[in-house]
Symmetry: C2
Subunit: 721 residues, 2 copies
């Protein structure tokens, strides 16, 4: 049964991991440096503004009015992301609830006649649902498999994984979620909703999907990766807000777990998006209460109100609560480790054999055999586990059995070829052992004021804390979904313990998964050994430079011979000295080669005066569309005449990339690179002189109107006195 | 009356603003650049690590064990900050409540005999309390005046205002708060508690107060401004958590409003501190419930439970709620503007006249005349305003009268010489007009399910949002203090509207105050006009460089002749070229001049080989103590022999400050400066060549043990299969 089940991962792995270097095949460099991002499916994002001539031309044309328009569109997009994610969540919930309702109604009517027939029908329905989900993922949108949170985390850290934010991924995620959750697998819809929100945001950011002719010209003002990053952050928060109806939790989740950069202005926009989601979901639920949505409205959104539960706690109870925290940390760390092993095992399996047919039926049957016992009532099961005033509702044996089996299932289900969230399984596992501890506490202290439901809630928090290693956002989400603020200090305590225990063993679930998937995340802190290294030590590849005016044939041969994505451009001054005049990104070179309009016959620089030469490109031409891989050098076909021509690179390069002196310690370099979200950084010799020194004072430039106003104000006051 | 009252600000203004350049006296530069930080009371912080020889020596001596010790102390300090701030909050509350209790008991017993005598006694008690607070602030700790949040915001932005984080400020803040709040002024204790938390954190960071011999050697490992910044962030969050018993709100407040830099690791530590505060406060309250603390326990901490109130809302109600948001934005913006005017007015007043005697008595009497009507029951008043099931408890006329008078009072009280928080007055004002709107709504819609208390709450949120311009943290704080999660979407809506309305008029209260106090905050976004400027344009002061080996007399004369805080150091190579070898901070030069041990007779560089020359300084010697101004050039007395000697600066300088090319656009320079929290940035000529190019791949250095483990894991799995 187990080995059958594990084959399930093969398909996913084949689709998702096929391009990732196999860590077991001696791919390590012995210098202790892993070449993780060599896989061609992963590319760094460019958060820096390339201040080339086209950019300046565009800036000059834009007035103050454009700024207003820009801000309006930004907020309009935040609104749309909120509405879109809210509607997607409602749609998924509606479908899942209705499938569950039909399933139960049908099974119940058949079971009256024959138990076996009812069972078979039930299994078949689930089978069809899960199969459809698997089919969608494997044949239509492979990037929609799994939770999606590691990929989004990677995107916001500056790594673009191709296919993650496509329109087809969005569709696959939504319908795949309906199939897998409706089919009763041991997984939730929260991670997928985060991914859904991010997809919606990214599609809006590029002004729609060009492939499906859904794009609009006037919305395409977010051409830089930096703007898209902000939108995707909004999308993440919206996803969490929609999944848990927890708007504050959504904001915090985006902030604590997903993003790598954050500005306080962004906080407000993210908050707005989450609020919109809350309003949309609430409106839809109100509409559904009137019976417009079939079976929906009974438990579609996760709100487990335990306000009738324990309001106070005594100090003796802190010990068992701390124990829950420790258990949560241990089980969570174990969960991360086991899922890592299983993923490795699957990957090895994949590399050794090639069988991937005919495992659906046998696997799914196994699933649903168990599903009939455990699943399809996940929300209700949690509500029962959290319930107050129900001491000894469950026996210890049944809880323990449930715990062991569900834990095993959650581990083996992880990483299958369906959209899968880890929150609901985590809450299930945690609340089970939490309730177990609660039962012992009741027996031991013999007090009736102790509620097992409270312990179940703490258990859920502890397991999620031990596995995902979030603290603040998880805490707020737990409070928001249980609607009970009084338990906040206890949840905090348990979370702190479980995170500390878990951290002693391994990294958080999403970091482990990102590492496994080969997403090269840059942590916020530099590694310890970087203190002893200098910037020069880190440069391991030979730099390939261009001259300012370069022959097309040379560009083609250089682009073909290496995989660098950025090239320094060197110019000679009249006195014969060399001078670095900027950085030329590979993608820009490819655009120039493809368009051919800038080719010139003369090997001399064009007139440097502005306006002497029309700029034939808009900045948007240089932006790689988020939904495709961009052009590659193999796609470009040039005639032999073209190859003999020249290009003057000066108008197209980024004239001032960030630079560091060669002997700067790598810690400082890392901070610069990470904090500013760079893609390329020049290591240069020590400067020969200092032209100026910039301090805080030099950067305090007031808006000229504003300082006028201040002066006026003070004058008017002086006058009125 | 009013002019009498306004004289109150003179003393404060004299103490706090005396060193700030007067903006009205033509101090502007006409290039649109304000020289704000010229005041000698404000200095930039150094967040960069100065990697000089002493630093490397120390790094070499430290092993992995030190890292563990460092982490342990960091968490231990977080614990201590939590406990300290919690205890301070409990102490303040205890004292205020007990004073209020005694006051009422005494007045009540006297009033039985004579109404006039009771009134006089009551006024006298308040007078004494407020006077003692004013005395503490004016004669003992001038930096403790006001809310303190703008100063802390400045500190975390990288500006050190002398005296803000001293031990005496801490003491002044605590006792001043007791006096001013206990004396019934129109202000709260929340801002002061934030300042208190920050002071505790800063004092711990420097290992105690050396002036009062409370320091401990083994705790002094946080010598850099960067570590202290993290501690102060924890302290801020602890202050808010203690003031409102809102731990999550505290974390968010620190994040959204106060800090300028944030890392997700820090979030966990801040969260821990807040949780500790919550536990400490809860424990103290439990202890007080048993009657151990006099009158304490009835309303000392702000928890206005409105859980019995309105749980649902209809769509028609959204319009009046939006109106509340608009009113909040307008009144909040007006409040900010009026307080700004008053502060300007006071400052002018101060500069014109010099009378500052004998205003206490007359002024305080005026205060308490009103105070007997309005104050001393702030907590209870708010509780009544928020109360559910009490329709038409207040008449519209009395609410309107209260609103106008309290608003006026809050405006004129702002900026007096006492510790003053703006939260409670804001909540008072907001809940009053909120309740007014609620009354009209009840009359208009004629539905009994509408609760005026809910409108009062929304009004409070809207006024705070309109004045302070926070969204997420304010929302969470409101939810935490009212203990009602169901109102979250409504609070969000109202906050979004009031912040948007307020932003249309002016900046937030804290930004306005920081600007007024001359704290040069660097906003997170570069100004629009920086797009057109280059790094070179921003350098307006002539650079003063040192040679590597420099005569002591030259150092002294240079330090005396200018006020620069950083000097580039130039060396000559054997081929005669110049080379910038680093940055020498003024403070380090002063330490070298004072200690004299590094003076040498020869004008030749010392042996560059490491170990050839003992390092006579530890890095801690170079750290400016947070509690004093550091040494100045006037404090150093050198003999004429000393002046003839030389110093080799190479071992003491920061060898690799960040550099930018001269023609980089100022937007990029600003981002670098702001994101990394720099103090000095070198503007250098374009480099002549590129030595290397650093990309994400180059910075992905794995811990060597860890990659071994991963390999082992996969091997063991392969073997077990």
């Amino acid at each position: 049964m187990l080995s059958n089940h594990l084959q399930n991962g093969i398909e996913t792995a084949k689709m998702v991991w096929s391009r990732i270097p196999n860590a077991e095949e001696g791919d390590h460099e012995h210098a202790g440096l892993l070449r993780k991002s060599d896989g061609s499916s992963v590319e760094s994002l460019e958060y820096e503004v390339v201040e080339n001539h086209a950019y300046w031309e565009e800036q000059d044309q834009r007035g103050k009015l454009f700024l207003v328009y820009y801000v309006v569109v930004k907020w309009f997009f935040a609104l749309l992301i909120g509405i879109g994610t809210g509607l997607a969540a409602v749609f998924i919930n509606l479908s899942v609830e209705n499938f569950a309702g039909w399933k139960f109604a049908l099974t119940f009517s058949i079971i009256q006649k024959s138990y076996v027939a009812g069972f078979i029908v039930y299994v078949l329905i689930n089978l069809v649902l899960v199969l459809s989900s698997v089919y969608i993922i494997t044949h239509f949108a492979p990037a929609a498999a799994g939770s999606g949170i590691p990929e989004i985390k990677g995107y916001l850290n500056g790594v673009d994984i191709h296919g993650v934010l496509l329109f087809r991924t969005l569709i696959g995620k939504i319908f795949g979620s309906i199939g897998s959750v409706g089919g009763g697998l041991a997984l939730g819809k929260e991670g997928p909703l985060v991914h859904t929100g991010a997809c919606i945001a990214s599609l809006l950011g590029q002004g729609g999907s060009t492939k499906y002719h859904l794009s609009s010209r006037w919305l395409q003002i977010f051409k830089s990766d930096r703007d898209r990053r902000d939108l995707v952050t909004c999308g993440c928060a919206a996803g969490v807000a929609a999944a848990f109806r927890a708007p504050v939790g959504g904001v915090l989740f985006a902030l604590e777990e997903v993003t790598s950069w954050w500005r306080s202005q962004l906080m407000w926009r993210v908050f707005f998006t989450s609020a919109i989601v809350a309003v949309v979901v609430r409106t839809a639920m109100g509409w559904c209460k009137n019976g417009n949505c079939g079976h929906f409205g009974s438990g579609g959104f996760i709100i487990w109100d335990i306000s009738g539960g324990q309001e106070d706690y005594s100090f003796e109870e802190l010990l068992p609560m701390a124990i829950i925290g420790v258990i949560g940390g241990l089980l969570g760390a174990l969960f991360n480790q086991l899922t890592l092993y299983i993923s490795y095992w699957r990957r090895n399996h994949l590399h050794k054999k090639g069988n991937q047919v005919k495992f659906y039926c046998s696997k799914e049957k196994e699933y649903n055999d168990l599903a009939t016992i455990f699943f399809n009532t996940q929300d209700d099961a949690i509500r029962n586990l959290f319930s107050a005033k129900t001491i000894h509702e469950f026996s210890a044996q049944s809880l323990l059995t449930f715990l062991v089996m569900f834990y095993t299932l959650a581990v083996v289900t992880f990483g299958t070829a369906v959209p899968a969230g880890q929150f609901i399984p985590g809450i299930m596992i945690g609340s089970t052992y939490g309730r177990l501890v609660g039962m012992f506490v009741v027996n031991f202290y013999k007090k009736l004021s102790i509620e097992e439901g409270t312990y179940a809630l703490l258990g859920a928090a502890s397991f999620l804390g031990g596995s995902m290693r979030m603290t603040v956002s998880l805490c707020v989400i737990m409070v928001e979904i249980t609607n009970n603020l009084k338990l906040l200090p206890l949840i905090m305590l348990v979370l702190l313990i479980s995170k500390a225990v878990g951290d002693a063993f391994n990294e958080g679930l999403y970091e482990e998964q990102a590492r496994l998937k080969g997403i090269p995340l840059l942590e916020s802190k530099p590694k310890y050994q970087m203190r002893k290294m200098t910037a020069k030590d880190a440069c391991r590849q030979r730099v390939v430079s261009f001259l300012r005016v370069v022959k097309v044939a040379d560009i083609v041969s250089i682009l073909q011979s290496n995989k660098h994505n950025g090239f320094p451009v060197i110019d000679h001054t009249r006195t014969g000295e060399t001078l670095v005049i900027g950085l030329m990104p590979r993608s820009h070179l490819l655009v120039l080669l493809q368009s051919k309009v800038d080719f010139q016959h003369s090997p001399l620089p064009s007139d440097p005066r502005p306006g002497s030469r029309p700029i034939r490109h808009t900045p948007s031409e240089f932006v790689k569309p988020a939904s495709s891989k961009g052009i590659s050098i193999e796609d470009i076909h040039l005639s032999s005449d073209d190859l003999e021509m020249y290009i003057d690179l000066a108008p197209f390069l980024n004239p001032s990339p960030y630079i560091v002196p060669e002997d700067m310690s790598l810690t400082k370099v890392y901070n610069l690179f990470r904090q500013l979200g760079l893609r390329h950084l020049f290591v240069v010799p020590r400067p020969s002189r200092v032209i100026g020194l910039i301090t805080r004072k030099d950067l305090l430039i007031e808006d000229s109107e504003e300082s006028d106003t201040v002066e006026l104000q003070s004058t008017s006051i002086s006058a009125s006195r």
